[in-house]
């Protein structure tokens, strides 16, 4: 999947791709355009220009529904779960299994939720019938991620999934992210935490000032190099810097 478009300022000719079965980390300083890029892919903001390829076929994404029908799911930073509903109810929120009389098929939803939770090895949740309000931050994040998986999605975009979590819970979520990729999904991980990224990412895309400036293989790079790319500390080492005129950096 590749995507490039030029917009007024937020994103300038950004190339971004993610493959099945890999975790592509998307990093960059605040205002680098990470969120804008994600919103374009998710159909929340339409791109001014550019192309999106899905399985090598050009596709158009006009709204969130288009993205969802392609199998692109976004797990937002602020979770978007309903505290008063239980895990099963949240997993199926807005897409409940029902018959022609709008009657809920509760057992179907419960059985499938249990299956997905088991498949992702989310074992810390005691009962899938407890309300989300009683879950820890890591568990809530797991529910949000599992919801994306439930719908046979192909691409899962995680926006700062570990930002508000403690050490053990971060571990839990990172394991989950790794398992998503193992199952063949394309995972996009947005994070400020390079330590987390170096643990799970396959490749790393660096955005700066609305441009994609580098794609690193995790195996062949160092945290130092990525930090320099993010902050433009040592421009000489950063590929792509030559393309940016000096006045644009100030």
């Amino acid at each position: 999947m590749s995507k490039s478009f030029g917009s007024v300022q937020a994103l300038i000719d950004v190339d971004f791709e993610v493959r099945d079965g890999e975790v592509m980390a998307l990093v960059g300083d605040n205002g680098a355009g990470k969120s804008t890029l994600i919103k374009c892919i998710a159909g929340i903001h339409p791109a001014d220009s550019g192309e999106i390829f899905f399985d090598g076929e050009p596709v158009t994404i006009h709204g969130p529904k288009d993205a969802v029908s392609l199998g692109i799911e976004v797990v937002y930073q602020d979770l978007a779960l309903c505290d008063n509903l239980d895990v099963v109810q949240n997993m199926y929120l807005g897409r409940e299994a029902h018959d022609q009389f709008q009657r809920l098929k509760e057992p179907v939803m419960e059985a499938k939720t249990a299956e997905v939770m088991k498949g992702l090895a989310v074992t810390t949740i005691k009962s899938i019938r407890q309300t989300v309000a009683t879950l820890s931050g890591g568990q809530r994040q797991s529910v949000a991620v599992a919801r994306a998986v439930l719908w046979n999605s192909r691409v899962v975009i995680l926006d700062e999934p570990t930002a508000a979590l403690g050490v053990a819970q971060t571990r839990q979520v990172l394991d989950l992210v790794a398992r998503l990729a193992e199952q063949g999904l394309a995972v996009v991980l947005i994070s400020h935490n390079l330590h987390d990224i170096f643990e799970v990412a396959t490749r790393i895309t660096v955005l700066r000032l609305g441009r994609s400036i580098a794609v690193y293989e995790r195996e062949k790079t160092t945290q130092q190099e990525v930090v320099e790319a993010i902050t433009a500390g040592t421009t000489s080492k950063v590929p792509g810097m030559a393309r940016i005129a000096p006045e644009e950096l100030t």
Binding site: D83, L93, Q102, A111, A114, N152
Partner: protein, 408 residues
């Protein structure tokens, strides 16, 4: 490529979603999920105290009186529960019910040139309530005016409409169909048949849900609790009918209250619409992102509130066999909202059940009836009802904070 969640991952023992009942109750309490427990406890204590102190409290006649007195308010309170569930408020229910009462009285009026059959008049009056709810709900959901203000305006407007319509002070209702909604009592045999049908429906519902769970290999939580419910409900139903039959029989108003309880419980718990109502009340933004049409849900909820106000208003005027200038006035609004809240419906949205309205309504009616029998004045009764309302909201607030804490 589809994800096969069971592949590629070693079998890992997932904790069974099945825990002892005691532990579930504790988890619920810790999670701020009190449900109807406090109100049922309070109700039991009240009935006991009044039964021991007030001489005429424990009688079949008084039981039927309480039921017919509270029926109209309870119907309004069902609508309020839905409105509270989405985190809004409807202050117009009392005078919307008044409008429906006046409407039904005017439509059946002999010699008015538009004397309609009772059933048609009832239907039109309810539709009037639905239309008002749709109008107010649209202003709230589509334009974004706070429901408090819109329905407060409705409170004034509909009160004015009632005063403008009833120019002679009172409209007498002669139509029997309308008056029967509040004053008809079933025969003894009729009562037993109702008890049998209600019990059969309940047991059938429980069994079909158990069967459906078995078919999908979903474990049944607390089989003993299920068995207890299957035994307890018919006992309660037949017991109630026995008491009613001791007096004039089962009041039609009771049947109406129970039928509406079952219908709205079904709608709120077993349909996609009901699920979306809870979702909008729990986190409207999450609901929106999940593709739920939040505005549509809000408008529909205010239409339900309007419909229940309409039906309740008809029962209220039918009890007096007339609609007068006081239709929808007095403590009706306060009682309807208090019933929902005392019953355990959260004012913050997303938590509560339709049956809360019935329990809360019972509390208010029992206090008024019992204290009246003991010779207390209305002043004292207001004070006591007010204190209980305050207690209910305080409990809700405390447990909401507990819930927020247990989430971390």
């Amino acid at each position: 490529m589809s994800i096969n969640p069971t592949a590629a991952v070693p079998e890992i023992e997932i904790a069974p979603p099945h825990e002892p009942l005691g532990q579930r109750i504790w988890e619920n309490l810790r999670g701020g999920n009190l449900g109807s427990a406090p109100v049922i406890l309070a109700l039991g204590i009240m009935v006991l105290v009044f039964g021991l102190t007030a001489s005429n409290f424990f009688s079949a006649v008084n039981f039927n009186n309480i039921i017919t007195q509270m029926a109209g308010t309870t119907l309004l309170a069902y609508g309020i529960v839905f409105v509270l569930l989405i985190g809004e408020i409807d202050l117009s229910v009392s005078y919307v019910s008044g409008v429906a009462g006046v409407l039904v009285a005017e439509l059946q009026l002999p010699g008015s040139g538009h004397k309609l059959p009772g059933l048609l008049a009832i239907l039109l009056a309810i539709l009037g309530g639905v239309a008002i709810g749709a109008g107010q709900g649209s202003i709230i959901a589509l334009i974004g005016v706070p429901s408090f203000v819109v329905t407060l305006a409705g409170f004034e407007i509909w009160q004015g409409v009632i005063q403008r319509t009833i120019t002679q002070g009172v409209v007498v209702i002669q139509d029997n169909t309308i008056n029967d909604t509040a004053n008809y009592f079933f025969s003894t045999l009729g009562g037993w048949i109702i008890a049998a049908v209600v019990s059969a429906f309940y047991i059938g519902g429980v069994l079909s849900s158990v069967y459906s769970n078995r078919r999908h290999d979903v474990p049944i939580r607390d089989p003993w609790l299920v068995a207890a419910k299957v035994v307890a409900l018919p006992v309660i139903v037949f017991g109630t009918v026995a008491i009613c039959n001791h007096d004039r029989g089962v009041p039609f108003a009771l049947l109406l209250v129970i039928a509406m309880l079952l219908i709205w419980t079904y709608v709120s718990k077993r349909t996609t619409f009901g699920r979306h109502v809870y979702a909008v009340g729990g986190n409207a933004e999450a609901a929106r992102r999940a593709g739920i049409n939040v505005a549509r849900i809000r408008i529909l909820v205010f239409m339900i509130s309007g419909a229940m106000s309409g039906l309740g208003g008809i029962v209220l005027v039918a009890r007096l066999n007339s609609a007068d200038l006081n239709a929808g006035g007095g403590t009706l609004l306060i009682d309807a909202i208090a019933a929902a809240v005392i019953g355990g419906t959260s004012l913050f949205g997303g938590r509560g059940e339709v049956r809360n309205a019935l329990f809360g309504s019972l509390v208010i009616a029992v206090i008024a009836n019992g204290m009246n029998t003991l010779g207390y004045t209305t002043g004292i009764i207001f004070i006591v009802t007010g204190i209980i309302l305050l207690l209910a909201v305080t409990l809700d607030t405390i447990f909401r904070r507990l819930q927020a804490r247990s989430g971390r």
